[in-house]
């Protein structure tokens, strides 16, 4: 990777890295916070400008890191003229906004948060303009929607802020969704998601039958982002944001993203009639509509918002024309609009900050009170109006020039006429901004006494105003930048000639009409305003809210209709659908002829089969008697374990019998506090339906198994058998699969088991501290009971069994890699050994002798397994690669040590902890229910030779809580 491309990646990353800092630096004060926000921005800007000479010479700097190559997604960046222009604007204005926001935000606003959001947004924008991969571009595109949501809703206490942020997110997010579709189509047409490839394949794209859908979808994304009609309504509502956000997002960056995208895609998509009629028409409508509405807005920021909508429409229209001259004009106007609009937003912010109102009807006469602000505001507003000698004039001339040459639907005058109409209104609202805010007499009813703000606050807009004048008077200064960007847009070298005076052209006459018309409109503003207020017009927010409510209602109806919370309904739908799908798949395929003979059935196996069938049928018949059903389930578990042994799967048999035991105990523990019989809840028809579905599904599975067992099918077993010893170092294939081949699955499973244990614990905790505890305490669970709680025989037997069982557990664990066994079974065996103690001597007695918390056992298990897996990284292998070797210490014969054993230890601990925690949690219920517990090992202790008065009598019992 060259230095250039490395620096490009750094530029793209800097804002994101910088975003980590302000939240911390705010503790060092507001100035430090602002400085540390400006630092990464400034650094990125300097690094960017170092590339400027090369990029102006037409060089394109590229950088690429593979990300998900299978999807065609790579972190590819490139810097050409257009990217350079936008990146410079984003970073440059970002710096100014950082400065301005430092003085704009008050002491109560969380400034660290603000700067963090700002840098996140900056990074996302930078990503858009530098991406060389459209999938990457989409990611950054969504990131701008998200980070702008945070910025717009920054004042969380204001409902308008929250609603505006939500609306912006909904509209731009929906557009982004459409754009994803469009970009994917585009990528499919070209066969690459690389932007450079796509831009080079313009011919192919435009000739493709999917061109129009792709175009429409991508334009939806661009139009929503750039607030084009009919999606323009979100932008004014987003003005509830703090002014620095409006100045940044809504003049220079976010709303320009859509324009940027159209400019970027220009070589690939532009030049067709579809492009012209969609883009130019939408742009034209937006331009006129935005300008008209702006004139009647009393809120300064709303006026500027609609003016922005109008100017974005202008840019869109110019790009829609599809000619090279129009593209040059668009690029030039992008620069100009940035300079005057950002300054105007900041001016509006200053007025709001000082006068405590943005309502034009309450302002006026500010020129005398805040002269500096007035000068800045007047110059920039004149530029916005397109009045010489400011930069807005030149780009507007160019726009009118292009409009004059444009024929729309064989009609040569409609575009120039409408463009001029837009310009008339544009002049009118700009003049209104000047005269109604700064002009007129000084009033004495401002909410606060206005005066010029501190230097820090007006420095940023003042700098932009200097640019406005400079570019206006000496437009040739901007020529190299415009050429640089326009060359990148059009794909071939352009030669822009920017002059203040073009001679007596039609555009000049139209300009004069616009200025005169605008002045007349302003003079007539009062009666027009009255008419406007009286006129009925659609309220975008109300329509949007209704639409959103309707969509949400529809979604709710669908989800509530299909998810009504009835388990049996879900199961019925699921099982029936699976059965039908299975049948369809089966009936459509031609199975090969059976290649295996049926094996003879030994009589003992037949007996097992009969047992299984009868027991299953009994469960169905007697399931309402819960205890009886549990006993019969015990039969099923036994026969299945037996079957595993018979079919040469001793590992499975061991696991099955242990799991059966633990499950039965869990169910019995729970059953103690539940009704002993299940009531009849469903009607006969329902049960018939469920029965039919169950029988069909069961028959289907049986048929499938039968068919498969009669045929030779290629399976993965062969691979496992072949590689178990040489790859995993174990002869027990089952265990090697668990700890090595599928180690990752096992790792996930023990985590799930641990989580299940912890959840049961947490649920019990919540249950026992909630209202259920009172009910438990007041229910009488006493039944006809044996009086001997802890029979002597059982206590002694379990004590004797304990070391044996533990030893067996250790033995099974140690040999697991080569012989039947392993951590899972060992964990279950040991937990059963412990559970026996709980049953024999009671909860309290055992709990006192238990030193390690089950929670930490789970934790250690997962940690050990995870560390073992991660240890493979040290050897440069992927996660969970196991290593093994053989050792020989004299008294012991040669043995093998495998890292898999450590992993297995983790499994062992997690299983033991998980199982014990579940049973422990359930058995705690009884004590909350008010049962007394025993601290002695048994009720009658023969070693205390005083005739049954030993410890453990009722006076020695303790009662918890």
């Amino acid at each position: 990777m060259t230095d250039d491309s490395f620096s490009l990646i750094i530029i793209a990353l800097l804002p994101f890295l910088g975003a980590l800092v302000p939240g911390v630096m705010i503790r060092a004060g507001r100035n430090a916070c602002a400085i540390f926000t400006a630092l990464p921005t400034a650094l990125a800007l300097v690094m960017l400008l170092l590339h400027a000479p090369a990029v102006m010479d037409g060089e394109v700097i590229k950088a690429e890191l593979d990300w998900l190559p299978q999807l065609g997604l790579s972190a590819a960046f490139f810097l050409d003229g257009l990217g350079m222009l936008f990146a410079g604007m984003i970073l440059g204005v970002g710096l100014l906004i950082t400065l301005y926001a430092r003085f704009y935000l008050s002491g109560e606003d969380p400034m660290g948060q603000f700067y963090t959001y700002l840098l996140l947004f900056q990074g996302a924008m930078l990503g858009i303009v530098l991406s060389d991969n459209i999938l990457l571009l989409l990611i950054f595109w969504e990131l701008t929607s998200l980070s702008s949501f945070l910025l717009i809703g920054y004042w969380k206490h204001l409902p308008e802020g929250r609603q505006g942020a939500r609306m912006a997110l909904a509209v731009t997010g929906a557009g982004g969704l459409a754009m994803i579709g469009g970009m994917l189509i585009l990528g499919n047409i070209v066969g690459s998601y690389n932007l450079t490839d796509i831009l080079a394949a313009g011919e192919q794209i435009r000739a493709h039958e999917w061109y129009v859908p792709a175009l429409v979808l991508i334009l939806l994304g661009a139009f929503t982002k750039s607030a084009q009609f009919p999606f323009h309504f979100w932008l004014p509502h987003a003005m509830a944001a703090p002014t620095p956000v409006s100045a940044y997002l809504h003049s220079a960056t976010m709303v320009k993203a859509g324009v940027f995208l159209m400019a970027r895609m220009w070589p690939a998509l532009a030049g067709t009639p579809e492009w012209f009629y969609i883009v130019a028409s939408v742009g034209l409508i937006t331009m006129v509509l935005g300008a008209v509405i702006a004139l009647f807005k009393d809120d300064l920021k709303a006026l500027l918002a609609f003016s922005t909508v109008s100017h974005l429409g202008l840019l869109t229209m110019l790009l829609g024309f599809g000619t090279e001259a129009a593209a040059i004009a668009a690029v030039f106007h992008i620069i100009n609009h940035l300079t005057f609009k950002a300054a105007l937003f900041m001016t509006a912010g200053i007025v709001d900050h000082e006068a405590h109102t943005r309502d034009i009807k309450r302002l006026g006469g500010l020129a005398k009170l805040m002269p500096i602000t007035a000068v800045i505001g007047t110059i920039t507003a004149l530029s916005m109006a397109g009045i010489a000698p400011f930069n807005g004039f030149i780009s507007k001339e160019k726009m009118l020039e292009e409009a004059v040459h444009t024929v729309w639907w064989e009609n040569p005058w409609i575009v120039p006429a409408l463009a001029t109409l837009g310009a008339v209104f544009s002049v009118a609202y700009s003049l209104r901004f000047i005269f109604h805010v700064f002009g007129g007499k000084v009033r004495d009813d401002y909410p606060a006494k206005p005066h010029d703000p501190p230097f820090g606050m007006w420095a940023a807009p003042a700098l932009l105003t200097v640019l406005v004048v400079l570019i206006g008077v000496m437009p040739f200064l901007a020529e190299p930048v415009v050429n640089m960007a326009a060359t990148a847009v059009t794909g071939h070298e352009t030669h822009a000639h920017l002059k203040l005076w073009h001679g007596l052209t039609p555009a000049l006459y139209l300009s004069i009409i616009a200025v005169v018309g605008g002045a007349i409109l302003l003079a007539l503003h009062k009666p027009l305003d009255r008419a406007w207020i009286a006129a009925p017009r659609p309220e975008a927010k109300a329509i949007f809210d209704r639409l959103l409510a309707a969509l949400a209602g529809l979604a709710q109806r669908i989800s509530e209709g299909s998810h009504n919370g009835s388990m049996s309904r879900y199961l019925a739908i699921f099982v029936a659908a699976t059965t039908v799908l299975g049948y369809l798949a089966w009936s459509g395929s031609a199975a090969a002829a059976p290649s295996r003979e049926l094996l003879p059935i030994p009589p003992v196996v037949m007996v097992g089969w009969v047992l299984l069938l009868v027991a299953t049928a009994s469960v169905v018949i007697c399931h309402r008697n819960r205890f009886r059903a549990l006993v019969v389930i015990g039969v099923i578990g036994l026969i299945i374990s037996f079957g595993f042994v018979y079919l040469s799967a001793p590992d499975l048999a061991l696991t099955q019998i242990s799991v059966e035991t633990v499950t039965i105990m869990l169910l019995l523990l729970a059953l103690h506090f539940l009704p002993k019989a299940t009531p009849v809840e469903s009607g006969a028809a329902r049960r018939l339906r469920d029965g039919v579905i169950a029988l069909a599904a069961g028959a289907g599975v049986a048929a499938l198994a039968y068919v498969f067992m009669l045929r030779d099918v290629s399976t993965i077993s062969g691979f496992h058998l072949a590689n178990s010893y040489k790859g995993g170092g174990g002869t027990n294939v089952v265990n090697v699969i668990l700890v090595d081949f599928r180690g990752y699955d096992t790792y996930g499973e023990i985590i799930v088991l641990g989580i299940a244990g912890l959840i049961i614990f947490a649920l019990m905790e919540a249950l026992l501290n909630g209202p259920a505890a009172a009910k438990l305490r007041n229910t009488d669970y006493s039944q006809d009971r044996s009086r001997d709680r802890h029979p002597l025989m059982m206590v002694i037997a379990t004590r004797v069994m304990m070391p044996v069982a533990i030893m067996v557990g250790v033995y099974i664990f140690l040999r697991g890699h080569n012989q039947p066994g392993g951590g899972f079974v060992a964990g279950l065996v040991v937990s059963i050994a412990l559970l026996m103690q709980y049953m024999a001597s009671g909860f309290a007695w055992t709990q006192r002798r238990q030193q390690i918390e089950y929670h930490s056992m789970i934790g250690w298990g997962v940690v050990i397994a995870g560390l073992t897996g991660a240890g493979a990284w040290l050897g440069g292998k992927p996660f969970l690669t196991s290593g093994f070797d053989y050792y020989h210490f004299p008294p012991i014969e040669e043995f093998e040590l495998a890292t898999a054993m450590l992993f297995d230890l983790g499994v062992f601990l997690a299983v033991l902890g998980g199982v014990m925690l579940m049973l422990y949690s359930l058995s705690r219920i009884a004590r909350y229910a008010g049962e007394t517990v025993n601290v002695a090992p048994m009720d009658y202790d023969p070693s205390q030779d005083d005739g049954g008065e030993g410890p453990g009598k009722s006076d020695q019992t303790e009662r918890e809580r």
Binding site: V631, L638, V645, L668, V829, M839, L919
Partner: protein, 89 residues
């Protein structure tokens, strides 16, 4: 000879399993059922040992030991349930 003896034993324990099933099905008492289930476990252990002898391998013997070790625990749990209600007091 040993084959005949094995066959005889298989038949006996198989029949034993079926009789236990009969007891579990008709009851009449839950204690009968638990007893029958425990007997079943013992029969299965026996069958496993017999099968190991039949096949001439030790692997089933070990499995039968394990079944013996944990198999009775659930019987104890069932019993504690009907005797005391709560299996872990």
């Amino acid at each position: 000879m040993i084959t005949l003896a094995l066959l005889f034993a298989f038949v006996c324990f198989g029949l034993g399993l079926l009789f236990c099933l009969w007891r579990i099905t008709i009851g009449p008492d839950n204690a009968d059922r638990i007893l029958a289930l425990d007997t079943m476990v013992i029969n299965v252990i026996a069958l496993l040992v017999l099968y190991g002898v039949w096949k001439g391998t030790a692997i089933y013997f070990e499995a039968s030991m394990l079944v013996a070790m944990v198999g009775f625990v659930s019987s104890v749990a069932y019993c504690r349930f009907i005797l005391r209600g709560d299996i872990i007091e």
